[in-house]
């Protein structure tokens, strides 16, 4: 593996919600690094702050204090427009709920980041179709999400997260709504398609079955990263058990 360079770096990151009696501190000084070229898993019990952390990392939520850098850019310090542009060009998202637009076909859904960047619909949808083919959905490209299985929807979401070649892909519980086999195949596609030397992937999960795909596993609890486990990733995770 290449000598790694940090893709995401969080220093003393804090986030609280509410104030007065209702104030809760969800992130309590997070120190966290994710390396480029790696799949970093974020593991921890429900409610420990994982979603909050990746929301802050992705620039969807402002932190209360501390620093986040993504490939050297302090996203929080950018002006709002620049932040949106940064997200649009450098970030990809995969959600537990897929969050596909029900009115758009698979290919159109996957094309949204390109459309947002001003690519002509024909070209954008064409490129999305190509990528869906690589993810094994060639024959479902013109289907609406409501007629796709959960695994297929998540693969469409994966295509949408990757189509614009983002530097950082953030996934929150991408396999939680899927059965074991489907979850594993989605994870395999994610590991295969999202990884690149200059790209990092962060996956929040508490699905231990997919851990064999990880390069690094960050353990989180009670608003802090307890430690990072650097694993020797197995070469063929799908057949590893």
């Amino acid at each position: 593996m290449n000598p790694s360079r940090p893709a995401v770096q969080c220093r003393n990151l804090r986030k609280q919600f509410g104030d007065g009696d209702t104030r809760i501190e969800v992130l309590r000084g997070v120190e966290f690094t994710a390396q480029a070229g790696e799949l970093t898993f974020l593991l921890g019990p429900s409610g420990c702050g994982k979603t909050t952390l990746i929301s802050v990392i992705a620039g969807l939520l402002d932190s209360s204090s501390g620093d986040v850098e993504i490939f050297g850019t302090a996203v929080e310090k950018l002006d709002p427009d620049a932040r949106v542009r940064f997200r649009r060009s450098h970030l990809g998202f995969v959600f537990q709920q897929y969050n596909l637009l029900p009115a758009l076909t698979a290919a159109e859904n996957a094309a949204v980041p390109l459309l947002a960047a001003g690519v002509k619909p024909r070209e954008a949808v064409g490129r999305a179709r190509e990528l869906l083919g690589k993810l094994g959905l060639a024959d479902r490209a013109d289907t609406l999400p409501s007629r796709l299985s959960g695994g297929q929807q998540q693969r469409v979401a994966l295509a949408r997260a990757l189509i614009h070649g983002p530097k950082l892909v953030v996934c929150d519980e991408p396999t939680a709504a899927l059965d074991h086999a489907t979850g594993e195949s989605v994870m395999e596609l994610l590991a295969g398609a999202a990884l690149a030397p200059d790209r990092a992937v962060i996956v929040v999960t508490h699905d231990t079955r997919v851990l064999p795909f990880a390069h690094a596993i960050a353990q989180m609890d009670d608003g802090r990263i307890l430690g990072v486990d650097r694993t020797q990733r197995r070469t063929a995770p799908a057949h590893s058990h």
């Binding site: 979603t51 990746i54 929301s55 992705a58 969807l60 939520l61 427009d81 949106v84 542009r85 940064f86 997200r87 649009r88 060009s89 970030l91 998202f93 959600f95 537990q96 709920q97 969050n99 637009l101 029900p102 009115a103 758009l104 159109e108 949204v112 980041p113 459309l115 947002a116 619909p121 949408r160 929150d172």
Partner: protein, 379 residues
């Protein structure tokens, strides 16, 4: 992203149609009610607007509108004729005798007695016969709607005899007089004929019709007549508006229509606005996703406005189409003749709909704009 906005809008057929029809129906109601309102108010001035050969109406200072008149003295005519700038001035009788057919059907009617010599004020739109036959003794011209009221279901036919306050007359023409406010027959006859069946009140010179000399404006002549005689003198347009204003001010019509129009507006606004608002709110998660992906607020704004504009335009077009068909059908009916879909109604309704759509868009946009994109990670 316009494609995305359009697909979002039309994806759920039922909601989309609900939105379009809410706007279509409130458009229809508004155009319909405002046009009928205006049409009915305009009827209060029909008999004024029908007179095209005179431009100035002179009346007793206490006469405020067409229906209720105080008779002028006979000397008034001479005095008006003496006012410089008057090309000519003639008298106009107005009475409301009961018209009775040979079979005993009767109806109160509006009788206009025209200057015997000139027949100024005679109806120009004739359905049957000619107005100059009014020169024949005891002859009248009746309007088509009045004829149909007195002879329901019978063919239009000249030569029938009518009694006006027990005074026999012959129908020599059928006119297409402007529909009066009350659905009375409109009967034209000569001044000398009219006075004969007016029984008790001998003098019934309600108005003097005048025309200014070339080079004198109607307004200027009104001013001179008033100054010289103390009588009230109005141009046709002024007098027509006087009548409309009188009814607006002194009758329940504007209140009644106002209520209907307000209800149409409120129902339309609330239903259309609320449906659209809910539509956007239900799609908040989708907007949140787009936000997370990096679509800036101004693009989302454009999407919502496009959705609003599309629904508004389609609904408005549909509603206006329905109104056009409605008025086209009812224009042919006797009772609703002359009531048309006015462009002012369409424009006004269009303005209301733009307001509704913009308001609903802006309200729902607020929700989109303050939306925390991090919600997309929440279940």
């Amino acid at each position: 992203m316009n494609m995305v906005a359009w697909k979002m809008l039309t994806h759920e057929r039922a909601k989309y149609l609900g939105l379009v029809f809410a706007i279509a129906f409130s458009t229809f109601l508004l155009e319909n009610q405002t046009s009928i309102f205006a049409g009915i108010l305009k009827r209060t001035a029909s008999q004024i607007l029908d007179v095209t050969d005179a431009e100035v109406w002179v009346m007793d200072p206490s006469t405020q509108y067409f229906e209720e008149t105080k008779a002028l003295r006979d000397t008034a005519l001479t005095r008006v004729r003496g006012v410089p700038g008057t090309a000519w001035a003639v008298r106009l009788f107005k009475g409301i005798p009961v018209a009775r057919t040979e079979t005993g059907r009767f109806a109160q009617s509006i009788v206009l007695g025209l200057d015997d010599a000139t027949l100024v004020g005679a109806p120009r739109k004739m359905v049957l016969g000619t107005w100059d036959r009014l020169r024949e003794p005891d002859s009248v011209v009746i309007d088509r709607a009045g004829y149909l009221l007195l002879y329901p279901g019978q063919p239009l036919q000249l030569g029938r005899r009518l009694e006006l306050n027990d005074h026999a007359v012959t129908i020599v023409g059928i006119s297409e007089a402007g529909a009066p406010f009350a659905s009375f027959p409109v009967i034209h006859t000569r001044y000398s004929t009219a006075t004969r069946f007016q029984g008790l009140e001998r003098n019934q010179m309600a108005f003097i019709l005048a025309r200014p000399t070339p080079g004198t404006s109607a307004e200027a002549l009104c001013t001179s007549i008033h100054a010289a005689t103390g009588l009230r003198a109005r141009t046709s347009a002024e007098f027509a508006w006087d009548c409309i204003r009188y009814y607006l001010k002194n009758t329940g019509i504007p209140v009644n229509f106002g209520i209907t129009i307000a209800i149409a507006l409120i129902v339309g606004t609330v239903v259309a606005g609320q449906t659209f608002y809910l539509f956007t709110v239900e799609n908040l998660r989708q907007f949140g996703t787009l936000k997370a992906i990096g679509i800036p607020n101004r693009r989302l704004m454009a999407m919502v406005l496009l959705q609003g504009a599309a629904v508004g335009a389609i609904g408005f077009a549909l509603g206006t189409g329905m109104a056009a068909v409605f008025f086209d059908v009812f224009r042919q009916q006797v009772a609703t003749r002359g009531i048309i879909l006015m462009w002012q109604s369409v424009a006004l309704t269009g303005g209301c709909m733009v307001f509704v759509v913009v308001l609903a868009s802006v309200l729902s946009l607020r929700r989109v704009l303050v939306l925390e994109p991090a919600i997309v990670f929440r279940a």
